[in-house]
Every structure is written in structure tokens, then in C-alpha cells.
């Protein structure tokens, strides 16, 4: 099992893994309240990345990662992932013709 120590590296590699194979990549979260531990795993059934922590600050970072994954998964791997808030606005809606203003 590959445990990654750096959060940023974990995020970077998970996103890459997902974009490479969106159909078989999954993100698993395991939380044990009695031990106060949180483990995250991202795998595409060939490669596996894990991250474990007992820090509350990592829970906050994980929330951002959750957002990223939700966006990638429901919209597709090419979705524009612009960290937290404002994801809706950055996606250009096709079908808007140039003549918006009526003068």
C-alpha cells in the first residue's frame, strides 16, 4: 500500500489517476471515530494511493478534495476544476450568441 506523506502530492496524483482512467478510478474514505483516524484511498485497480491522518486540519483539506472529485465525476474528467467556489462560473456555457445587448 502506498502511503503518501504530502497532501499536495496526494491530490495531484489522484487527479492524474482519475483523468487517465475515469471509469475505473474510485475514491474511498474510511473514518474511525474511536481511533480518531481518517484514511483516504484512490485507486484505479492497478495503482493505489493512500493518505492517512489524525489531524483536524486534514479533514478540511479533504473536504476540498471531495469537491474536486464530485465535480470531476459528475461532470466528466475534462471538467474545469477551479478549487472551491466559483466552479459554476468558470465553465463556459455553449450556445450563448454574441448579441447579448439590445441597443
Amino acid at each position: 500500500m502506498v502511503y503518501i506523506t504530502s497532501w499536495d502530492e496526494f491530490v495531484e496524483r489522484s487527479a492524474q489517476l482519475f483523468r487517465a482512467d475515469p471509469d475505473s478510478t474510485r475514491y474511498v474514505m474510511k473514518y474511525r471515530h474511536c481511533d480518531g483516524k481518517l484514511v483516504l484511498k484512490v485507486t484505479d485497480n492497478k495503482e493505489c494511493l493512500k493518505f492517512k491522518t489524525d489531524q483536524a486540519q486534514d479533514a478540511k483539506k479533504m473536504e476540498k478534495l471531495n469537491n474536486i472529485f464530485f465535480t470531476l465525476m459528475s461532470r466528466g474528467p475534462d471538467a474545469d476544476v477551479s478549487e472551491v467556489a466559483g466552479k459554476e462560473q468558470t465553465e463556459a456555457q455553449p450556445g450563448k450568441k454574441g448579441r447579448g445587448r439590445k441597443q
Binding site: 474510485r26 473514518y31 471515530h33 464530485f70 465525476m73
Partner: protein, 120 residues
């Protein structure tokens, strides 16, 4: 395996967290899926129809499994509620407060908080 709508799923997830505070684990899995069998997918690809993908979310406490699927339209709302639930329940994680070390002189009441004793 119980397939629920997003809102009942969130309620069940909350109760799972509540029930596993003393003992037990909660697993949550996120995966992208089109919820169609391979045959259907091939047919759709051949006909040129774009496949509609959804995000499949599964949760289990080891005994019971619940799941739901979220599409691009409801994912924002679901993700906000999901984040709230997580924040509310992940209370047993340690808080690392390095700022306190200087101010609280010697009165370190935190158990196991002395990970990095920064004594120059």
C-alpha cells in the same frame, strides 16, 4: 445494498456516523458511473448518443450498505450537505495548535500534544 435518493441517503449517513462513535468505522466510496450495463453502453456508443455519467456514492458501516447516485445538476447541493455532515462528525481528529506553545508556558494539558517540542 440499498439504493436511495440523495436526501434520504444523507440522513442515513448521518445516523451511521452517530452510531459508530464508540466503536466501528464508516467507509464512503465515490465513483463515476453511467449506471448502464456494458451492452447498453456499447449500443449507445454505436448509435452516437452521448453517455450520461453520474457520481455513485456508497457508504457502509461494515454491516449495512447504502448508496445513491448524484448527477451534475444536484451535485453542488449534495456536496454542500455532505461536507456539513463530515465536518459535524469528524470531531475526534486532533487539532494541532502550534501557536499555543509559546503563550501557554508549561501548562500543556493536551494529551499526546507534545509531538514537536520546539525548544530552542
Amino acid at each position: 445494498m440499498v439504493l436511495l435518493q440523495p436526501d434520504p441517503f444523507l440522513n442515513e449517513l448521518t445516523s451511521m456516523f452517530e452510531h459508530s462513535t464508540e466503536k466501528g468505522t464508516v467507509w464512503v466510496t465515490l465513483k463515476r458511473s453511467s449506471l448502464k450495463s456494458k451492452v447498453q453502453r456499447n449500443k449507445m456508443a454505436a448509435a452516437g448518443e452521448p453517455l450520461e455519467y453520474r457520481c455513485l456514492i456508497r457508504a457502509t458501516n461494515g454491516k449495512k450498505t447504502i448508496s445513491t447516485s448524484v448527477g451534475p445538476k444536484d451535485h453542488q447541493r449534495f456536496q454542500a450537505s455532505y461536507a456539513t455532515i463530515l465536518k459535524a462528525h469528524m470531531t475526534s481528529l486532533k487539532k494541532r495548535e502550534r501557536k499555543d506553545k509559546k503563550k501557554v508556558a508549561g501548562a500543556d494539558k493536551k494529551e499526546g500534544g507534545s509531538k514537536k517540542p520546539k525548544r530552542a
